[in-house]
Amino acid sequence: MTYEELVKATGVLVGIEGFAPDEDGVCYLVSDIGEIAIIQCREPVECVVLNAPVMVVPDGASATMLAALEANKGFRETKGATLSVDTETNRFELSQYALLEDLSAESFVAMIEDFATTLVNLREKLEAAQSQSGGGEALEEAVSQFMRV
């Protein structure tokens, strides 16, 4: 199945007629949780990438950044995805990729649903980390504890 065929079949399953990528291989799913981009990646192997904004990186976001990197450990809290920051838009993002050859339309829809659930959960987690951080001093203390280990 080609990438274009996968996108088209996915559109049929989720009820979007004529769902197709643009000339750059990108298309978007929009819901009340925001926008999820579906991106074609050809190198080094053919992959499909899901990418979605999580939240704006707030001022003094060190605690939130640490929480994001800790969530990435072992892909446990991210359920196979990865948290990152787009420095141009100043947003946390969640991304996940899968090998094209490993996907069917059904498994891809399941992946998107899991990704959306994880996105909501991580958004809550990072917002909580930011609200509980108590500013930069708490994180500086946490980092200094790392260094004493």
Binding site: P44, S84, F92, E140, F146
Partner: protein, 150 residues
């Protein structure tokens, strides 16, 4: 294919036994230039049982200023060659998931090689010995890391 079968298959590719002990298999990887400070790569079974998680400690968080570059590098996996940078207990890790069927069809060693080269590149970058960090994995693949049994 089970995780143990996949590790056995990967061990055959690499030329030594890769036994699973306490849920993980381990190997050491010399740097691409034959340096003496090998990285230890651990392989764990992914929670869904369908993949192997490669994990390698590459440095430590020393200041909060270390965090943003790691997150920026993760964006769309562009600066990590498909892997993910993470932190636990103040230590920085590079991690990547590989489907077991990829290992089972004999592509595991190449995958691990690419991962190790990225890990070496990042360890050098974090330790300040990697220059501007501009070296790409493709460039580094000219040299070949050596894998050792742990």
């Amino acid at each position: 294919m089970t995780f143990e079968d996949a590790m056995s298959s990967l061990g055959e590719e690499l030329g030594f036994d890769l036994p699973v002990r306490e849920g993980a298999a381990r190997l050491a990887a010399n740097s691409a230039d034959g340096g003496e400070d090998p990285l230890t790569v651990e392989f764990f079974e992914t929670p869904d049982g369908g993949g192997a998680l490669l994990s390698c400690e590459i440095g430590e968080v020393s200041t909060v200023g270390d965090l943003m570059p790691l997150l920026a590098a993760n964006r769309l996996f562009a600066d990590t060659s498909g892997a993910s940078l993470s932190v636990a207990d103040g230590r920085i890790y590079l991690e990547q998931q590989v489907p077991l069927f990829v290992i089972g069809r004999g592509e595991g060693a190449g995958f691990v090689k690419s991962f190790v080269l990225t890990a070496h590149e990042w360890r050098n970058r974090l330790s300040g010995s990697g220059g501007d960090g501009g070296e790409t994995v493709d460039d580094a693949q000219i040299a070949s890391p050596g894998f050792l049994q742990v």
